[in-house]
Symmetry: C2
Subunit: 756 residues, 2 copies
């Protein structure tokens, strides 16, 4: 059965573009080339159907004995309570921005006699982006919280069964993210092109559609920033709070049911690592595709491609479609034997990922050579991204996995105490930024020139976008291998709390540890693609400046030797630092509140520690939830308002420099934080595996300090920076017209005052 399905997909993958092409009689024969969006829509439906099949299959598995079910239910309830509160706060933000965007899009043109700073579809597009981003996280989390006890129970029978349940639930997340991403994209396209365009409602041609869609990217990024930041604060506050009072002060083991914060801790894995990551990667995926489509519009216009313009615009979405199909095929190749070791499990996951990558390379080669004869350079751009992704992922693993030298050496630093470990980890994180930056630099150049940047700059920039799309095209499967980690982690917690036999815990540990390795790979893709997408968005911002000031794109010049540009650069570089500091400070404050609550419960009900009283899990969940909600607002507002305020005061060229500076610094800081954090985590695991004195040794104590420092690095500040740089770019793009208008007024005012 599965084999037939597999062959069917392969056939569809290779034949579909060929059929489309043949049907149209070749690319040059018709004026009305096929709308590739139908493939994208089909891809999204296939992904969603596949997700539903997997959900149904997962739900059929047994939830295990009563104790397992109880814990799973408590985690599920806590996660849902969190997400409800989160949506309350986020919907206020969305409502406010909806009103602001609505005012600019609908009221300003009336007041100013037709001056149109925003398309009228922008406010609604913004809402849908946020809605789908949140929905991806929600579904992923719902499934993950249902799958944790099932994984634990399956692992009590065999390692392979455990892997299947956890991996299936991760695959659901992967499929939901890509499926919903492409669905939102296709639906807007279809609506705008086939309904509003014929009606003549504010759209003159299909080329105007992608710039409007950038707004739903902004919606998706806003929702993702809240999800990542709120989830990141929640999970680390609960984690640190649980550890500091439970492990250190009361001396009870991790995941002990007597610890009031233990459920909050497990909830944290789900709201941070699952819901947060889902929304995050939804945003990355959609962002890369629409940014590239928008540049495609501009490039097609400049190149005078005529009837082929549409193909040019839709190529990114089509590459995404190929990626979806290849990812689904890849998931079928992830299988392991009953007696699998850690190594064979890793090989199983890798087989899936690499097969998908190879499939995409082959299929996109054929697709591009059919659709764009003579422009095979575009395939070069896609491949540049795909290869850069693999390189970055490898080096992320190299720097953070304890099978390689850097983390092994770092672990040795624990023997001279926590200080040398911290210095070593920071130094490791900083030096590890070199390879990804050089890779992205070469990838950027490669993608630019492959796509013909030496003749048309915009086409080259479009190539950079294609590289981002290429890098993320395997998302369906890389996210699956990534998102299964927290499920395995939770399953381990459940196994511990329900006192399963040691071999069960050993199996869940094996799954968890595998998850850490694949998560590193996933982070590499997220960071690398963020840099490339941000570069594409910066280019699109330049394009919008050209549109609004009615000059040619080649005349949009942000010269580094101009002080307005230099200051933008400095402001841009400092923003990620300030944002990261705010996020880390937030974790500290929220953790303190948790510490106080756990101490209060232990003091008020001494029976808790004796096992006679039941701790109040819900109040800890609530405190973490409230802390996260309160703390996520200020940094998020800074991200959204900074480019707007800078634009008002200093104009669009300063904003351009700000975006470039923030992208460069955010990229470097994100890698540093992810890799320092990952290396500290794995150095601790390396010692816990019995090296350098093992658990309880002074080395281990030092390693715990490193791990705690690394937590907000890798799970709160670091991942948010990827979203931050794209969100700022999108906000700038959406508000570009308003900024130029306000800045003109402001400069006029200044000149009036100083008589210049």
């Amino acid at each position: 059965m599965k084999k037939r399905l597999f062959l069917f997909f392969v056939a569809a993958l290779i034949l579909a573009p060929a059929c489309a092409w043949a049907q149209e009689g070749g690319p040059a024969a018709s004026n009305d080339v096929i709308d590739l969006i139908w493939f994208t829509l089909a891809g999204s439906i296939i992904a969603l159907v596949f997700a539903v099949v997997l959900i149904v299959r997962t739900m059929k598995k047994s939830r295990g004995p009563k104790e397992m079910r109880e814990i799973s239910d408590a985690v599920h309830t806590g996660a849902m309570a969190y997400i409800k509160q989160q949506y309350k706060v986020v919907s206020i933000f969305f409502a406010v921005l909806f009103v602001v965007l609505g005012f600019i899009a609908w009221v300003v043109p009336e007041l100013s006699g037709g001056q149109r700073l925003l398309s009228r579809y922008v406010p609604v597009a913004f809402l849908t982006g946020g809605f789908f981003s949140a929905l991806s996280g929600f579904i992923g989390m719902k499934v993950a919280t249902k799958a944790n006890c099932r994984t634990a129970f399956a692992a009590s029978r065999s390692l392979n069964s455990g892997l299947r349940v956890a991996f299936n639930s991760g695959t659901v997340m992967g499929m939901v993210v890509v499926g919903l991403g492409l669905l939102d994209l296709s639906l807007w396209w279809i609506l705008l092109r086939y309904v509003f365009l014929p009606l003549g409602w504010g759209i003159g041609s299909a080329a105007e559609i992608p710039p409007i869609m950038i707004t739903f990217g902004m919606g998706a990024s806003s929702a993702a920033l809240f999800a990542r930041l709120g989830g990141g604060i929640y999970t680390k506050a609960a984690d640190v709070g649980a550890d500091l009072v439970g492990k250190v002060e009361a001396g009870i083991p991790e995941d002990d049911p007597r610890n009031p914060a233990t459920i909050a801790d497990n909830v944290g894995d789900n709201v941070g690592d699952v819901a947060g990551m889902g929304a995050d990667l939804y945003e990355s995926y959609v962002g890369s595709v629409i940014a590239t489509m928008a540049l495609g519009s501009a490039a097609a216009g400049l190149m005078g491609l005529g009837e082929k313009a549409l193909l040019f615009i839709q190529l990114p979405a089509f590459v995404a479609f190929i990626g979806v199909i290849a990812s689904i095929i890849g998931t079928f190749l992830v299988r392991s034997k009953e007696d699998a070791t850690q190594k064979t499990l890793l090989r199983a996951l890798r087989t899936g990922t690499y097969s998908s990558t190879a499939l995409i390379a082959v299929a996109s080669f054929f697709a591009i050579s059919f659709l764009f004869p003579g422009q095979i350079g575009l395939w070069g751009s896609v491949m540049t991204g795909l290869i850069a992704g693999v390189i970055i992922a490898f080096f992320t693993e190299y720097f953070t996995s304890d099978t390689y030298k850097p983390t092994k050496n770092l672990a040795k630093a624990t023997t001279t105490g926590p200080a040398t470990l911290i210095i070593g980890g920071l130094s490791l994180g900083m030096i590890s930024t070199a390879v990804p930056v050089v890779t992205v630099v070469l990838g950027t150049l490669g993608a630019f020139y492959f796509a013909g940047g030496d003749t048309h700059v915009v086409t080259g920039l479009y190539g950079i976008g294609l590289a981002a799309v290429g890098m993320l095209s395997t998302l369906g499967i890389t996210l699956a291998t990534d998102a299964y980690g927290p499920v395995a982690d939770n399953a381990g917690g459940i196994a511990e709390m329900t006192h399963q036999p040691p071999e069960v815990r050993r199996r869940t540990d094996a799954l968890d540890s595998l998850g850490n390795t694949t998560a590193a790979t996933g982070k590499g893709f997220a960071i690398g693609s963020a840099a490339l997408t941000a570069l594409a968005l910066i280019a699109e911002y330049g394009q919008k400046v050209a549109d609004f000031t009615k000059i040619d794109f080649s005349n949009v010049v942000a010269n580094i030797l101009s002080p307005n540009v230099l200051i933008g650069l400095m402001l841009g570089v400092v923003l990620p630092f300030v944002f990261a500091a705010m996020a880390m400070g937030a974790v500290g404050r929220a953790a303190q509140a948790m510490v106080d609550e756990v101490r209060r419960q232990f003091k008020a009900y001494p029976g808790i520690l004796l096992g006679t009283d039941k701790p109040d899990y819900a109040s800890c969940v609530k405190i973490s939830t409230m802390g996260a909600q309160r703390e996520m607002i200020l940094p998020s507002l800074m991200a959204v308002t900074a480019p707007i305020v800078v634009g008002f005061l200093f104009g669009p060229f300063t904003v351009l420099a700000l975006l470039a500076g923030a992208t460069a610094a955010g990229f470097v800081l994100a890698i540093m934080m992810a890799n320092s954090g990952g290396a500290w985590d794995n150095a601790k695991k390396y010692i816990e595996a019995g090296n350098l004195g093992g658990k309880g040794s002074p080395a281990h104590k030092a390693a715990v300090v490193g791990d705690t420092v690394g937590d907000p690095f890798k799970d709160t500040s670091g991942p948010c920076l990827n979203i931050l740089i794209k969100l700022m770019s999108m906000v700038s793009i959406v508000f570009v017209g308003t900024c130029i208008a306000v800045n003109d007024q402001f400069v006029g005012l200044l000149r009036g005052i100083f008589g210049m």
Copy 2:
């Protein structure tokens, strides 16, 4: 006597420019305006004479009892041994670069038939810059190592006497740095203008002189980077090594004579904090003046200033002259009563600094309005720098002093262990970058527009340079308050080792703690001026690109939307991170070697700990010296070669972006590292003063971890970043012609290969 001297200086300060002006019959009356360099030369001689007077006076003080003299001698010998070794390594580097520069300046024109990529004076100028920079550090260190026992002995009589000796020795450093800086500058000017120009030896006009002088800036910066980095590695390796084995493992107190590394530790204060800082600030001072003079040449040419061009070029040197006189006057105002408290001592130092600042403001107002009637905006640029310096210095103190909230709150984080302290300190450092960046951003804009940047861009950029000169004009006195700290620190060590009565140690502690506060101010100036100077150097680089490609400056466009520029930006941003990582890694490795040596001595000679055997101080000094020398080479080479290699491969516009990116990121990272490190240090001191449980409490243990992590931050990586960004800019400027020539060849080759 002193009062008369004081009045004399005030009169000279105010009358000199007026006389000069009157003598010439007003600015417009003569074709041959006075050469302001004579003032600069006079200022340099006054500063150096003053330094000699202070040295003689200091040497007359008693060296105290035999034990004090012995320790002082051991530290002196160790420091000299270090500096000798350092000069050996550095002279190899200088010899190699001399040959390279000589080849380009003298041989290439012969080979290529006259193509002149470098002035023929460049190789020798490079050497003199390095020589004077090293000499500043050497003299300062020599005096400091002679003054430490004298301070300790003076403090055994009274606090005020101790302050006077230490402060005098700091003042020597201040005067030597500014004196030698202006001397090198004046001598080259006089040589080139009055000897080689009339002879027609490779110089066509006085306007060509400043760009040649940039090379001695490069020499000064290279020597400074080695001094800072080598000294920083040495001092932290010795410090960490002494603490880890001595305090932690053997359980003997700090500065205990039984610890073999204790002399190396005290040597470290001198080679790092005195010699390193001296070379560093020499480089900052000279760099800011010559970068601005070079821009002055360009601006004067563009503005068609005619006979006033010379005044325009020399204004920065003249402002420096005013600063020297004002600083000398300021040092006379630093006095305290016998019963002085910490607070009154601080007020005494502040009186000196603020009086100098006010004097400079007034004197430069008169000077500029006499020299440039109608262009008082130039004074605005100078003032912008002065004020920005004061603001940055205040906020540096705000974030790092334990009299303010941030460090107090940080100290509280120690109660929940080292991890929360580290997270809090990193977060504090990151958020503290916002104010200096915004200050520099506003200062940049202010200086630019005050100097008339809206009509002539180059003039505006010249204004940015003037702001840097203004900020550093008080260096004579700020460096005095800064450099006295390590002397007080050493005196404290000597008091401890020679078992002085507690009130002596209390006095030296008061002096030391005061030094920490003023050092924070000094760091603020160094960092702020580095950013402004680097911006001026970037502008000068742009100017050189214009010269070499024979286009107008306004056509030198590094557009952020071009991928060549974007990649330069990313590479630039990552460089400071990689450099900082290398420096931190170097400290770790050098410290490990020290730990091994101390352990070896304790094991081989058990009598050391019993007090019966004398430890081998010299071998520890040697190990630290060798470690520092070995480790400083790679990061320094990276700094020098990175812009050259990038220039060869990608051309001058990528280099321009690289410099801008490195300046922005280096600036932010330097502030973060300085402030995190300073706050951790003071949080520890705050606890040691008896708060939160005091010495020996768990909070104190956590604070020690923070302090150790902060050491390489604030004393190794952080301060080097200031030098790094300027050195890279100067290297780029010196090699610009070569880079353009090589890049043309390389691009031609690529085009040949790919048939483009």
